[in-house]
């Protein structure tokens, strides 16, 4: 039911492409990221971390560091006798007057370790003779999910595919590393922190430090990426605050790239041994999967499996395997890229058993179409736009070493939000301030907050002053789960509508009408249907007087929705003499309910696709199998796409304004990697069932295919 808060039917701004309002600040350097915050008398913090994957701390000697030049504070983070469970586990820290002196002093902290048995990979942890490394067991078997009669399901199958599929561990690689600047004023703490959860960080600082939450003020104006890994102060934040307290001076503690790889989260690995059945006319009948994965030391590794497609009978078990590596954290659509890859490669193998087109096969086995399940339509639209009719059957028949192929894949995500609050002030000079304790983690939140207010007031975006990213602002949630837009936009809309109503009440007598007859459009407030009978925004606001219109509001039903679907097509070429894969084209079809800013929504899709190309081809956290230490904790040997590695990417957003706002941050990164892997399979005729698509795997699969098939 439409009400006064409903999104406008003919919006002036919403759904158009609007440039970020902080774009110029970012490109000129005026925007201050946490890294850029410098306080008077500020010190630099540096942590000492375990070089070993598993050890007992035998002794910690801080004395040399305490005497080092420029050092103002040194602390031990763990007690002697404690165990470190992975390379990079924090042990101690130091603060000094320059960054260089802090680095030097950190190396003077002498920690002696007693090495303990460790696991560098899941094979070691799952070995029958593996030592007991983790309290309570090295693995943890989850519950079995079972639906329908599996035996009957397989009995109906004309063909069965049985194989093992796997994805690997990658890290978040935020361009701005984790960290903060902490400054005490008596027992009050101010922390500038690179976080996806500015208000929630204050809560964690308070609880970990044992101080009232009311005494903590956290600020995050700009940040260089989090992807799920920045939901609180972490050890570096707590250590930074403690160092600042000890030193009686502000401390900046930002992690380096190596620390990022080792101790700020990762996407768990996923492996599944799967048996699946299909009828002769292409209906799925059964799915039996045993999966396992590692989220590092003591952490879970779950993921959805099978993904999306309708297996009427299915059984699935999952086991978490613990290894001595940094713990996983939520990473852009947790679990989905893994479950999507494992399922979608299987789907192409199943389709080939009956020589059925992969798109037609998928459409045949989809759940019923719905506004949150639009795959059938997207497969059709995408196939047309991408030129799917030019796709050859598995194995490019053209001569020469370069083989080209196409692949396709589907995904979904929730993206619903709630709970945000907001505050709007309208001043007598016409100025408008919109306040909300959300944060812009690089997605464009600052811009869309302004757009919703500007749309409501009939003003340009430049008329709105947006205040976000501060724990003193009205409550909003952390930016995760693609919930920010769906949580904050309704609050901004409701509060702006209420503020506008209050303004109408002041303006109506001057125009000789009732408030409900007024509209605000094009920078004017006027009587509906007669634009001449009205006032400019500025003149209207003169009627406000000295006491501003000051309105609080909160999220309301009906302005946001839940559930997005998307389909991606990929084209890749493979050099079969070198095993090198190049992605040549991606088409991403995505819905996100009501599009607020088309430009930043598309930007989310571009970013998601590029990140997933990295997942498919390049990124790989590689631990030395003997020592358990990471061999590529940098951005040289931990590979990331450069400009030349990024293909042509087309984004097709499906605007569904009737569904309200739904988040889009995560879904576009889910299905790219499996579409690429299917394109590689289509190009070469060889199936690579694990990521990344490294040349060694491509060549091995080709070799195996030559020798009789990759089955």
């Amino acid at each position: 039911m439409a009400n006064k808060y409903s999104w406008p039917e003919k919006p002036a701004l919403l759904g158009t492409s609007v440039k970020r309002l902080d774009g110029p600040d970012k490109v000129t350097g005026r925007a201050k990221y946490t890294y850029d915050i410098n306080r008077p008398g500020m010190l630099y913090g540096k942590m000492v971390r375990s070089p070993l994957p598993h050890a007992r701390v035998v002794s910690i000697d801080l004395s040399a560091a305490e005497k080092a030049p420029g050092v103002k504070a040194v602390l031990a983070h763990v007690a002697v006798g404690a165990q470190v469970m992975y390379q990079g586990d924090p042990v101690a820290a130091v603060a000094a007057d320059t960054e260089e002196r802090a680095l030097d002093a950190a190396r003077m902290i002498r920690v002696r370790y007693e090495a303990l048995p460790h696991f560098a990979n899941v094979e070691q942890a799952m070995a029958t003779d593996a030592p007991a490394v983790f309290p309570g067991g090295n693995t943890r078997q989850g519950a079995t999910e079972e639906t329908g009669d599996l035996v009957a399901g397989f009995a109906k199958a004309a063909h069965i595919v049985e194989a093992t599929y796997a994805t690997h561990v990658i890290t978040h690689v935020c361009l701005e590393t984790h960290g903060c600047v902490c400054e005490w004023d008596g027992d009050k703490l101010t922390a500038w922190i690179s976080t996806q959860a500015v208000i929630q960080s204050a809560q964690q600082f308070a609880q970990a430090l044992g101080i009232p939450q009311a005494n903590v003020h956290t600020i995050m104006q700009y940040m260089g990426g989090g992807f799920g890994s920045k939901f609180g102060p972490d050890s570096q934040g707590i250590i930074c605050a403690k160092l600042a307290k000890l030193a009686k001076a502000p401390v900046k503690l930002m992690l380096d790239r190596k620390e990022e790889h080792l101790d700020t989260g990762n996407r768990p690995s996923a492996t599944a041994h799967i048996r699946a059945g299909i009828t002769a006319d292409g209906m799925l009948t059964a799915f039996d999967g045993q999966s396992w994965g590692t989220g590092g030391a003591g952490a879970t590794s779950g993921f959805p499996l099978p993904y999306i497609y309708n297996f009427p009978t299915r059984k699935r078990t999952h086991k978490d395997v613990y290894i001595n590596a940094g713990q996983q954290r939520a990473m852009r659509a947790p679990g989905h890229p893994q479950g999507c890859f494992l399922t979608e490669i299987l789907m192409d193998e199943l389709a080939d058993t009956i020589k059925m087109d992969p798109v037609a096969f998928r459409v045949k086995n989809l759940p019923p179409a719905a506004p949150n399940a639009m795959w059938a339509e997207y497969f059709a639209r995408g196939a047309k736009a991408f030129g799917w009719d030019k796709r050859h059957a598995t194995g490019d028949p053209t001569p020469g070493p370069i083989k080209t192929g196409m692949g396709v894949s589907a995904h979904r995500w929730g993206g619903a939000g709630q709970g945000s609050q907001a505050h709007v002030d309208i001043m007598s000079d016409g100025g408008i301030v919109v306040k909300c304790g959300t944060q812009d983690i690089g997605t464009g939140t600052r811009t869309i907050v302004g757009m919703v207010a500007a749309e409501t007031f009939g003003l340009p975006l430049s008329a709105i002053k947006v205040e976000i990213g501060d724990s003193l602002l009205p409550f909003s949630g952390g930016s995760g789960g693609s919930t920010t837009a769906a949580s904050a936009m309704p609050a901004i809309r409701v509060t702006s509508v209420d503020a506008l109503e209050a303004l109408f009440a002041k303006v109506a007598p001057a125009l000789g009408t009732a408030p409900e007859n007024l509209v605000a459009e094009g920078g004017r407030i006027f009587i509906k249907g007669t634009p001449a009978k009205g006032l400019s925004w500025k003149d209207a606001c003169k009627l406000i007087g000295t006491e501003p219109i000051s309105v609080n509001g909160k999220w309301a039903q009906g302005l946001s929705g839940s559930g997005t679907s998307g389909v991606q097509f990929a084209e890749a070429s493979v050099d079969i003499e070198t095993g090198i894969v190049r992605v040549t084209r991606i088409l991403a079809i995505q819905d996100c309910g009501l599009i607020v800013d088309k430009l930043t929504a598309e930007s989310q899709a571009y970013g998601g696709v590029i990140a997933a190309i990295n997942f498919a081809l390049f990124e790989d956290r590689i631990l030395d199998r003997v020592t358990g230490q990471m061999v590529n904790p940098n951005m040289e040997m931990y590979l990331l796409a450069g400009m030349s590695d990024v293909p042509k990417i087309d984004i097709m957003l499906n605007n569904m304004p009737e569904r309200g706002v739904i988040g889009i941050g995560e879904p576009p990164t889910v299905s790219t990697a499996s579409a690429i892997a299917n394109a590689v399979r289509n190009a070469t005729g060889a199936t690579i069932r694990s990521l990344p698509l490294h040349p060694h795997k491509v060549l091995a699969a080709l070799e195996q295919e030559k020798a009789g098939g990759t089955n």
Binding site: Q200, D234, G298, T300, Q327, A330, G477, G480, A486, S487
Partner: protein
Amino acid sequence: MKHLTSPKLTPGVHCLNIRHKGMFVTSGPDPDEFAFYDKYDSTAYWCVETSRGFGPDGAPVRPDCCSGERDCCKH
């Protein structure tokens, strides 16, 4: 406290120091989620006291063990 409404954790049962990302995100319900795949748990947990995935006693942080008799458990 808002996070105690998290479906994964129960006030009075689980330790007050256990944390996961979902406690800090005001997500709305996704009623159809399990029409598209079965249940799974991808959640990373941490202890707010140690700032890592292991509690003060060195054992992993998880809902099934961060409760009841565990010595470091806070209520």
